[in-house]
Each structure stands twice: as structure tokens, then as C-alpha cells.
């Protein structure tokens, strides 16, 4: 077992170097696991080590590849890892999260039967895109990386103020947890604890349900017509994400991009740079219908719990497919508790929902609010409280 433990430790190190978060405690657990299942069958060893070392199904392909190579020839595995991994970069330089994916693909390619991770949506859909979308839509889509630098100093200062102050324009929901209150439900247990400390007086303690922000999912239109607003909104969303952990942000133009990971960085400049690098359809065309459908299919069941609110930030100017848009919007509105639409075009007094896309979306949103300048953004929350809900909202949500 001694030699074997040594090998296991070596294997753990290789996994770690490959980007899997495998702590030193795993080595010990792995030794125990192998002791429990024995070394007779290779598939048992594989299953046991996966159970001990993995924390998510996404990590399986990378693990499989490493396992495959290592148990054939540990030395070879190490050399391969060296070749495949970029050198550790100096301090301050960011390691790109995409790297793991790329390596996973590179390694997994050795095993033709290895299953595709279900959730590496990012790399997957990038590939899809390269094959399908780019060719068929190359005329309309102008792919370029977002240039946040061109934001003026004043814009930036604005955005920062907004990000620091503004509550999100969604209605708070009643949590099932309670908080102390002046009046409400009598909290017997708390009353008793209070009495135990001060037995001479028996003061009743009350509590009521806490009102909390629901999880928020933001779908931000970054197409050409939305350019000016989208940049500002990204700052706002970064601030929001910093204050409220349950925020997921997606951008869409001609494709859907999940950028929440980028917005986790505390520093707004770094976060937005990273987001800009992820968004490749900045200032391109709009395909709202397809993007919403893709969101519904791939993300809605995962990121929308029963009570999540969806913030749709778009001008609703879709170039095609109003019928499909209505269908996707209807589906989305059924999956979420509140669907709030922020529309910069509402600034025009005579705004009428004449564009086909706007007409298709409108029946399915709960609130339609303007967002064209600072004051309208500051009014958002007030507007929301006074605005009646558009649609009848069946409460049977699961």
C-alpha cells in the first residue's frame, strides 16, 4: 500500500495541476477508498476515486482523461500535463477560466467514447456558433469585442453612482424566515428566552416574515441599437452582483452568453474587461427570439427557482420572427414569478408598441419600465410599486 499511496499522492498533484480543486485531504480519503474497494477491478478504482475527488459532474471528463493516462503511465501523464498547460503566469495576470475547458477538450479527445459534459455550455455553444451561426449570419453580425474604454469619464461616474445606490427594480418577496418586528405573529420561543433572562417581566416578542430580494436573472441586450445603454447597464449589474449574490447575468445579441462569472470580480474594471472578452456579439444584430428560446431550454430550469425575477433589458427591436418571440416570451413568463422589461425607447412620449417585436413581448411582461437616463433609473423602484401588473399571473409555479 505504501507505494500505492505514493502514486495516489502523485495522481492528486497532477489533477490539481490540471485545474481540479482537489485538496490534500483528498489523498487520504483516496487511500481509504482504495482500501475499501480493493485493487482488483479497474472500474471500481475509477469509481471510488471519482467519488472521493470530484465535486461536480463537469469535472468528470477531465478526471477520466487524467485517470486513463496516469494508470497507464504516470510519467507520461506528467509530461503531457506539462505540455498542455500554459506556464504559470506572474502575479497579477489573470488566468482565464476557459483554460480548463480547453484542456478538458484536448484531453477528452483521446477517448472517443468519453461523454460530453452537460454543462460546458460556454465552449459547446461557441463551437456550434462557429459552425452554424457565423456563416449564415455573417452579413448581419459584426463580431467585435466590446470596447468599454470608450466610455466617457462622466458616464463612468454616473454608472458608479447608480451601481452604488440603486435597488433593483424587482418586487421584494416574502421570505419564509422570520425577523423581529414591533407587531405581527407572537413568537413564543423568543418570548420565553426573553423571559428566562428577565423573569419578572413577560414581554411578548413578535416576528413577521422577512422581505427579501428574490434571485434575479438579467437578460441584457447588447446589440447595436442598445449599445449606449448596455455599457451603462453592465456597470449597474456589476454593482448589483456585488451587493446581492443571487444575480445571474446573461447578454444576448445574436447569441446568449452567461457572464455572471466575470462579474464576480470585485474590481469593476477587471470584471467588465473579462465580461467584454466573453461577449462576442457586442453591437451586432439582434435575435431575441432565438436567444430567449435558448435561455428557456438550457438555463431556465437551472437558474430560475420558483421565485426568481427576470429583468429583460432590451428595446425589443427584433429583426425577425415575432411569432417565435411571442412563444419564447410566453414560456419565459410562465417560468418566472416576475418578468420586468426595461426599455430605453420609452423615453419618447409618443412611444407606441408598433414594432413587431415589442408587440410580441408586451403581453407577457409584468412591468414595462423606462431606463433611458439616470433619473428614470432612479425612479425605477417607485414606478414598480405604483405600476399595475400587466398580466394575470397564475400562481401555480413549480
Amino acid at each position: 500500500m505504501g507505494y500505492f499511496a505514493f502514486n495516489l499522492a502523485h495522481f492528486t498533484r497532477i489533477l490539481r495541476r490540471a485545474g481540479l480543486p482537489v485538496g490534500p485531504d483528498r489523498t487520504l480519503a483516496a487511500v481509504q477508498a482504495i482500501e475499501a474497494v480493493g485493487l482488483d477491478r479497474r472500474d471500481d478504482v475509477h469509481a471510488a476515486l471519482s467519488a472521493v475527488m470530484l465535486r461536480s459532474n463537469d469535472q468528470q471528463p477531465l478526471f477520466d482523461a487524467a485517470f486513463e493516462v496516469f494508470w497507464r503511465d504516470p510519467k507520461l501523464a506528467e509530461r503531457m500535463m506539462h505540455m498542455m498547460l500554459p506556464k504559470i503566469q506572474g502575479r497579477g495576470e489573470k488566468t482565464q477560466p476557459k483554460r480548463n475547458n480547453r484542456m478538458a477538450e484536448a484531453l477528452a479527445a483521446q477517448r472517443p467514447q468519453s461523454s460530453k459534459p452537460p454543462n460546458s455550455a460556454q465552449s459547446d455553444h461557441q463551437q456550434d456558433f462557429d459552425l452554424d451561426f457565423a456563416i449564415s449570419h455573417s452579413d448581419r453580425e459584426r463580431l467585435h469585442a466590446a470596447d468599454f474604454e470608450s466610455m466617457t469619464a462622466r458616464e463612468f461616474a454616473w454608472a458608479q453612482r447608480i451601481a452604488a445606490q440603486l435597488p433593483p427594480p424587482v418586487q421584494r418577496i416574502r421570505s419564509r424566515r422570520l425577523e423581529r418586528a414591533r407587531s405581527g405573529r407572537l413568537n413564543l420561543a423568543a418570548t420565553l428566552r426573553h423571559t428566562a433572562r428577565q423573569p419578572d417581566t413577560m414581554l411578548p416578542v413578535y416576528s413577521r416574515p422577512r422581505r427579501v430580494l428574490p434571485p434575479i436573472v438579467v437578460l441584457l441586450d447588447v446589440s447595436g441599437s442598445m449599445d449606449r445603454y448596455a455599457r451603462l447597464m453592465l456597470h449597474y449589474l456589476h454593482g448589483l452582483r456585488q451587493r446581492h449574490r443571487l444575480v445571474q447575468v446573461f447578454t444576448f445579441g445574436t447569441r446568449l452568453t452567461h457572464i455572471t462569472r466575470a462579474l464576480r470580480d470585485r474590481d469593476p474594471d477587471r470584471a467588465l474587461d473579462e465580461a467584454a472578452a466573453m461577449v462576442e456579439d457586442w453591437k451586432g444584430g439582434t435575435r431575441i427570439a432565438q436567444c430567449l428560446a435558448q435561455f428557456n431550454r438550457e438555463w431556465a430550469r437551472r437558474v430560475l427557482g420558483a421565485r426568481a425575477a427576470v429583468l429583460l433589458i432590451t428595446d425589443g427591436l427584433d429583426r425577425e420572427g415575432a411569432g417565435e418571440l411571442a412563444q419564447s416570451a410566453a414560456h419565459l413568463s410562465r417560468m418566472t414569478a416576475q418578468l420586468v422589461w426595461l426599455n430605453p425607447l420609452l423615453r419618447f412620449d409618443g412611444f407606441e408598441p408598433r414594432a413587431a417585436g415589442v408587440k410580441a413581448l408586451l403581453p407577457h411582461v409584468d412591468h414595462l419600465l423606462p431606463m433611458h437616463n439616470l433619473s428614470s433609473l432612479q425612479d425605477l423602484e417607485r414606478a414598480l410599486i405604483s405600476a399595475p401588473r400587466h398580466r394575470f399571473n397564475p400562481s401555480s409555479r413549480s
Binding site: A47, R55, S175, R176, L188, L192
Partner: protein, 323 residues
Amino acid sequence: MQAQSVDEVLALLQAQGYVGSRRLATSVHLALALQRPLFLEGEPGVGKTELAKVLARALGAPLIRLQCYEGLDVSQAAYEWNVPRQMMEIRLAEVASRLAPPDGGAGGQHPTPTPGRDSVAERDVWARSLYRRELLIERPLLQALTQPVRPVLLIDELDRADEPFDAYLLELLAENQITIPEYGVVRAEHPPITFITSNRTREVHDALKRRCLYQWVGFPDEEQELAILRAKAPQAGESLSRQVVAFVQRMRRLDLFKAPGVAETIDWTNALVALDAMRLDPDSVHDTMGVLLKYQDDVARLQGAEVGRLIDELKALAIIDGD
């Protein structure tokens, strides 16, 4: 009854009619041998909850189940003080102290120390006696620690509870104990075999996963699913089962909002049997679609030519005999 190897676990599960992969059995074996919680993640309807139930039955252990939901808190998950009884004790003590002679006397039969007397120490004893074990109401997590035999604890759909609850579980999972501020630490004499399931509607905290063995439960392959049907829906003939499995397996490859799970496959087979369908044809599939698909958009998608196409595909493979 204790399983000593992967093969024995596999046999144990099979004896209870649970068809699982060898991989899953390995994880269960490890959970038993290393006494670590097993974290099961996967699509709904692939048998995560069932695994815990079956194992409890196979080991003859009591199953304690905690269904998670949003807003789940300690008083519903772990323990709660019996406040009405505590109130009553206070009232009784009050009455007793009023009845007792002012110099303290010999004391009544009631063992409760009386409040009202001003010594701080006595007050302390009194306050502590309000929080004794009998006044503690055990909820599932605490129950799991106080069983006379090793129980199976199932924490079901953890992703539905909100995040603070993940942190609350850490002590239980790592140390098999619960700390009750007013009372002390309750440690398990017979640590439970813990299963945690998640449908992945949110990511469960890493600190929690680190204390567990991790196992992804995917959809079964064709052979396995057929074996499951043989065990769970034996009244369906071999030929119908084969057709059902082949059909469902192909359906999962379509781009559906919610692919049918194994539970749906079993329900569907039973529905077909109840309707006396001997083999799949477009009509019987249409009539029973609601058992298999739970989203209108998915049903609408299959309503058209899609069902016919799948059936033709099966006919071409001679899984369904041609007319």
C-alpha cells in the same frame, strides 16, 4: 446485515429490485465503509431518492427523511423547544411558589425549582430546567442522531433549501453531532448513513460537498433501463418493454425542456399496460404522452410528425414489428 464489498452492495440493491450501475454501488459501498455522506446529483427521476429508500430496506435500518424546501429552518429540520409546555411549567412554578411558605419550607412534591426567590443561582437552575431533554422536540436531523440502531438519513433535494442551510449541515455531516445552544451537544452513538440529493437548481456550497462523496446519477443506458422495467413493471411483456425503452432513449436525445426520467418510463409502461396496448403505435403514444412529458411545449413538439418518425425508426430497427 453489512455489505463487505462492491459485489455485495450490488447484490443487496438488486435483491430489493433496484437496478444501478456498478459505479453507483461502489459509491454506496464507500459511503458505508468510510462512513461518509453520499452526495447524489442528477436529473429528476433517475432514482436518487429511491436509492436511499432501498438501502434502508435492504439494511433493515430506519429511514429518516428530510424534504428540503425554501425557508426550511432549524425548528423544522433539527429540533424545536416545546414552548407551550415550557409556558405551562412556568405557570405551575408560579403557582407553586405562591403556595409555598415564604421561608422556603420543605418544598412540595413538584421537583421544579421555583422562580420568584431571588437567588441568582436558583434562578439559573430554574432557567436551565426549562431546557431539559424532555422538552426538546426532535425533528429529522436530531432524530437521526438519537436512534438506537444506525439509521439511513435522507436529506432530499437540498438545492431547494436556501444557502444558509448548507452551512448548518456542516457540523452534522462532519461530526455527526448537533449543537443546541440552550442544551449542549448531541452526538450520535450510531452515526447515520447519510444521503443528500440535489437536482442542481442551484450549486450547493463547496464546503458541504467536500465533506461528502460525490456521485452523479445519469440516465440509465438501454440495457439498464430494460432491467429496471423488468423489475418494476413486470406485467408489461418483454416486447413492449423493449419498445418503450428504445422509444424513451431516443426521446432523450431530442432537444426537450425536460427529458423523461426513469420514473416517467415506468409510469408510461404502466399506463400503456392499463390501456391494453400490446405495442407502440402513434395513437397509443399520443394518448399517453402526458405521462411522459410534463411541459406543454414538449408535448406540442412531439405531437406532430415526431412520434411517427421515432416509431418508423424503431420499425426500421425491427424493435417494433412492421404491419
